[in-house]
């Protein structure tokens, strides 16, 4: 590790003594991130196929009736966790590491740390998914990996997070750019919430209903804070990049940041939760306090993007990332609206909640990260004169897919909730009534699988062409041959 640091900075010098590094040199030092992106894309396709398998249980309940592993109770959490820990976390961390180096005009520091963390992390995810299929599910939503897998995740995060902080530390002096605020917070947020929730739920479980409170707290922090921190880091870094113009407002960016940090983690406890009333009530207050920040983010990023030249041809990342900004706004407002008891009495325990989560995790986060990775990978593995395969089609498949998933489930969820509250409607009719919405969502899942598969295919093709044409030695040579890639 110390060897890596000394490559970019002689021991004993202050950080501001680092010479600024050109973008090409940064990219050359960050080639290790291709590992993270490739494994993330594999898990994205794998996880979405698992998701489809779990959905098949709705359409033909007898399909896996004799196969416990593929029953909904196992295949669904396996799919969700594969997407969250297999795809979302490494993709987000990889993009953040690249951004931390790029925005700081520094090289990526701690390459061995990244490789070590990547290995441990993926061992953890593999163990966790297999563990869920074998029935070792912990029973806590979004934290279903058994504890032997969680231990690997924690051990894997530490070196990656450390590499992130070391890279961040080597940045050029000066006031932080907006995205850098989000990057730094994201590096600290995950270890905090993951260790807290794992200790309180899996290692030394708290008693009774407190488990649910911790569980809700973790889910909200993971989805509505950590993923948002990482996704908005991309938004705040890339919107000005695409527009070739400054960010619209630094004040509004800071307002978003501090609102998220201060109030973001309050929300997420449903109004009807069987806990003392003040807990969901304060949770609702936290959700309300986020409204202005959500609107400020939307306004800030769209006004930044509007500064772009209208006649310029849009690249593929310029489709994905603005879609992510829009989906962030919709998903976050859906979460706020479904929080107070007047609405929660309808939406709670219905398909509305998974619809909101999909809008956030896929519509916002995954779309944003696919866009960022499409932007970054050709720079890490440059090959002249090649274009993305079916780039626009992949965007359309993902975008239409997520809409097909979210809209029917959100509408179906509201209908489902209203009829569940109507004592004259038999419960079985309610269940049958939601089938149409589930059919729509499964169609959406199919489209998203296709989009994800094209994404994976593109990554593999880019890497293949790069290996074929490049004379540089992959990874190992990255530091010794500074300048060749430029």
């Amino acid at each position: 590790m110390s060897a890596t640091i000394s490559q970019s900075q002689p021991a004993g010098t202050a950080p501001d003594a680092n010479p600024a590094v050109s973008p090409a040199e940064t990219d050359l030092s960050a080639r290790v991130l291709l590992l993270l992106f490739l494994s993330a894309a594999l898990w994205l396709v794998g996880g979405s196929v698992l998701g489809l398998i779990s959905s098949l249980n709705f359409h033909k309940p007898t399909l896996f009736a004799d196969c416990a592993a593929f029953s909904y109770g196992r295949s669904h959490p396996a799919a969700i966790n594969a997407l969250l820990y297999g795809f979302a976390a490494p993709a987000g961390l990889g993009v953040l590491l690249w951004l931390a180096a790029h925005l700081g005009q520094a090289k990526l520091t701690g390459i061995p740390l990244v490789i070590l963390g990547w290995l441990l992390w993926n061992v953890g995810v593999t163990l966790g998914v297999v563990g869920i299929f074998l029935g070792d599910n912990t029973g806590h939503e979004w934290l279903e990996f058994p504890r032997y897998a969680s231990a690997f995740l924690f051990a894997g995060y530490l070196p990656i997070g450390l590499a992130g902080l070391l890279t961040f530390k080597n940045r050029q002096p000066g006031p932080l750019q907006m995205a850098q605020w989000f990057i730094l917070a994201a590096f600290f947020w995950f270890p905090w919430i993951f260790t807290t929730a794992s200790l309180l739920l899996v290692i030394w479980p708290v008693r009774g209903v407190m488990q649910s409170v911790v569980g809700w707290w973790y889910m909200n922090n993971f989805g509505n804070v950590w993923l948002v921190l990482m996704g908005l880091a991309v938004g705040f870094a890339f919107a000005p990049k695409f527009a070739k113009a400054p960010l619209y407002s630094r004040d509004m960016g800071l307002f978003t940041f501090w609102s998220l940090i201060l109030f973001g983690s309050w929300a997420g406890i449903p109004a009807a939760a069987p806990v003392p009333s003040w807990i969901p009530a304060v949770s609702t207050l936290g959700a309300f306090l986020m409204v202005a920040a959500i609107l400020a983010t939307f306004l800030n990023l769209t006004k930044t993007l509007r500064q772009a030249d209208r006649h310029a041809v849009r690249t593929i990342p310029e489709l994905f990332i603005p879609f992510g900004v829009l989906a962030f706004t919709v998903a976050s407002l859906m979460a706020v609206v479904s929080q107070p008891i007047a609405v929660s009495v309808v939406t709670n325990f219905t398909w509305f909640i998974p619809a909101q989560q999909e809008m956030l995790v896929y519509g916002f986060f995954t779309m944003t990260m696919i866009g960022a990775i499409y932007y970054i990978v050709p720079r890490l593995a440059p090959v002249a004169g090649t274009d993305l395969l079916l780039g626009k089609a992949s965007f359309l498949l993902c975008a239409i897919g997520v809409l097909f998933y979210v809209v029917p489930l959100a509408v179906g969820g509201i209908i489902q909730g209203s009829s569940m509250n109507d004592a004259t409607v038999p419960f079985l009719n309610v269940v049958k009534g939601s089938l149409m919405a589930i059919r729509g969502s499964t169609l959406g899942e199919l489209l998203m699988i296709l989009g994800n598969a094209i994404f994976l295919l593109n990554l593999i093709l880019m890497l293949f062409r790069f290996f074929k044409t490049s004379t540089t030695v992959f990874l190992a040579g990255a530091n010794k041959t500074v300048g060749v890639g430029a």
Binding site: Q105, S277, A281, L285, V291, V482
Partner: protein
């Protein structure tokens, strides 16, 4: 070499890394203030004033009290049955008949149970009893057969409920034995707190069964 010279000249920051100083529009500031205000009103209406006893859908503790049924006389007997079945019925049996073979005296129709006041039976439950003891004309216990201090681990309310149940069940029902209150149990528990060992029937008979 060239990389070195390039990095020296790469310092000027590209325009996209800067930010304009636009301030937040006033309508958005108003949205923030209004949503914060609405959220606080929501907490005032639905938050139960931070009382740990107020659960949804109740608004405050008065609301909870108004909707909570006051304990009726029958409730103590129902709860007492649970305590009895868990702690006493193993020996005294669920029908209160006891068992001559195990040396455990009956509670059904027992003159000790049906005494005017519960002073003696509370003591038996709290500290235990070493026999032999005469109940309904028969001799029970003695030697190694003793009743342990079962009530030591139970609350005043549980002891009172169990005794109330015993005094109002089987053929004891309708014999006019008054319910046992937690206050009675508490006062006796305070009086016997220094006692070591079990009661003997002789010791108990010296104590008035009723205050």
């Amino acid at each position: 070499m060239s990389a070195e010279t390039k990095s020296r000249t790469a310092s000027p920051q590209p325009v996209e890394t800067s930010a304009r100083g636009e301030s937040m529009p006033i309508w958005l500031v108003s949205v923030f203030i209004l949503t914060a205000f609405a959220g606080m009103i929501y907490v005032a209406v639905h938050g139960g004033w931070f009382d740990p006893l107020v659960y949804p859908p109740f608004a405050d503790i008065q609301h909870v009290d108004a909707w909570t049924r006051p304990p009726a006389l029958g409730d103590g007997i129902k709860k007492g049955k649970v305590v009895f079945e868990a702690n006493c019925a193993v020996c005294h049996t669920s029908t209160g008949a006891g068992s001559a073979t195990t040396g455990c005296p009956p509670l059904d129709g027992s003159e000790w149970v049906l005494a005017q006041g519960p002073n003696r039976i509370i003591r038996i439950v709290l500290n235990g009893l070493a026999g032999p003891i005469e109940v309904k004309g028969g001799k029970y216990g003695g030697g190694s057969i003793q009743m342990s201090a079962v009530g030591a681990a139970l609350s005043d309310q549980q002891v009172a409920d169990a005794l109330t149940y015993v005094r109002a069940s089987w053929s004891n029902k309708g014999k006019g034995a008054a319910p046992v209150t937690p206050e009675q149990v508490k006062s006796i528990r305070d009086k016997v707190k220094d006692k070591t060992g079990f009661w003997s029937p002789e010791e108990l008979l010296k104590i008035s069964d009723k205050d």
